[in-house]
Symmetry: C2
Subunit: 260 residues, 2 copies
């Protein structure tokens, strides 16, 4: 099943996508909902960020080649995280597919993509085992963890390095019934494939993160967990178009512009 949030005229609602049409629902996929008789052509609605999370979790450094490459560029030894210690991102930075990533005027040219899988929590969970963890996932979407590398390294926190407005594209929609182990993420810049990796090569998988987090935290319906990216990442500049694709989900596509 494919779930989106969309705007059509003045209506903003959750919708179920079937082929090329969207059916508006009342309520939310996480609680109770019912289909209405309003349908729209998918290509004619504006897709919104598919969920506004109560808490926005991000695995951060979670793939070996990414850790190795980023350490190499800084001239330091790669250090792999010993535990699935989750980090945070912020809702102000979320934008939907097709919305622009806006590079601030005073950012350097080191504004880079990180294409990743996003797990969306479907049910409240606390103290679940790794074996049970995937039962609490509603579905999967895609994220682009856009990062200004000089701010990421130089500031005390990731506040603007990773959470500047528009730096967190998420979408295009949420797909249910997938197994994360089967998925492959591909990142393209201006239609050129930049990197492709198997989700299952993560240092810690979705099961491990959810189980460990839930020993201390309650996860709530709509919370999102961004799983981290693999490989080298490159700069994006004004006029570029960046895409993150998992064929079983779809394509998250965002134009890039620099603030003038």
């Amino acid at each position: 099943m494919k779930w989106c949030r969309f705007q059509s005229g003045k209506t903003m609602a959750y919708g179920i996508i079937d082929g090329t049409t969207v059916t508006e629902v009342t309520g939310s996929p996480f609680e109770s909902y019912s289909k209405t008789s309003n349908t729209s052509i998918l290509s004619r609605v504006k897709l919104l960020v598919p969920v506004i999370p109560p808490t926005f979790y991000a695995a951060g450094v979670n793939y070996r080649e990414h850790v190795t490459e980023m350490a190499h560029r800084r001239g330091v030894k790669p250090e792999f995280p010993p535990n699935a210690d989750v980090g945070y991102r912020a809702n102000n930075a979320l934008v939907a597919t097709d919305e622009p990533i806006v590079i601030p005027r005073d950012a350097t040219d080191q504004v880079q993509y990180e294409g990743e899988l996003v797990a969306v929590i479907g049910k409240r969970c606390k103290k679940v085992s790794e074996a049970e963890a995937l039962d609490y996932v509603f579905g999967y979407t895609l994220g682009n963890d856009v990062s200004e590398r000089t701010w990421q390294r130089g500031d005390r926190t990731f506040w603007r390095g990773k959470n500047t407005d528009t730096f967190k594209p998420m979408g295009p929609w949420i797909v249910t019934g997938l197994s994360p182990d089967d998925l492959r993420v591909t990142i393209r810049l201006n239609s050129k494939e930049m990197f492709t990796y198997a989700v299952k090569d993560a240092i810690f998988g979705v099961r491990q993160f959810i189980s460990r987090m839930s020993q201390y935290l309650t996860l709530y319906p709509g919370d999102v967990l961004w799983m981290g990216t693999d490989g080298a990442t490159e700069n994006m500049k004004d006029g570029d178009v960046v895409e993150v694709e998992v064929p079983e989900i779809g394509v998250l596509r965002n134009p890039v512009m620099r603030e003038r």
Copy 2:
């Protein structure tokens, strides 16, 4: 004006406190609202966390004596932050006044309070000056940034060190019309005064944080900014009661229990 969120029977709503009574309102203080004819005795309602923030910001290290004392305990030189680089906390950890802080079974005895002022954003803001910044504050409440020090130091992020469920008491309510420069925070453990400090001794004040953050981020109504604590902090144990007070606001009081 004193704004709260409260539960009375099955009703959960925003309310306006006047003396010893609460008047239920429909809507929210951040958009449009209207008073209903339902009033309750304040002492008979259950106070809820006064706002669930879209984004939960925390200044973190922001007072000289706190930075110095914490560095001293770790045997390192104190380092003061060069810029108002804001951090994040997580909504799962929020609890209201009177609700227990629950120390997990496997936490060490180094679970400590940090009593602080909380600014609640009232209006969407982006790129505001320091002179304008306070116009975007709706009001002030109190927070206790409970921290498990070994996890805070040992984990890659603050996920459980600061965001374990119940580690973020906030309340008791929001008071409008205050100037942060006039306020003093006092922290008590089992009725004994542990520390008191002037809010204006912060390394960076509310104006500076909001202005700097808003150069890159949009702040939204209901976002909260915890301003950091001053002084040494001490361990809390099962059976303790911790209080954070600003006389012009009120008292945030929480019992402490250890999970068995």
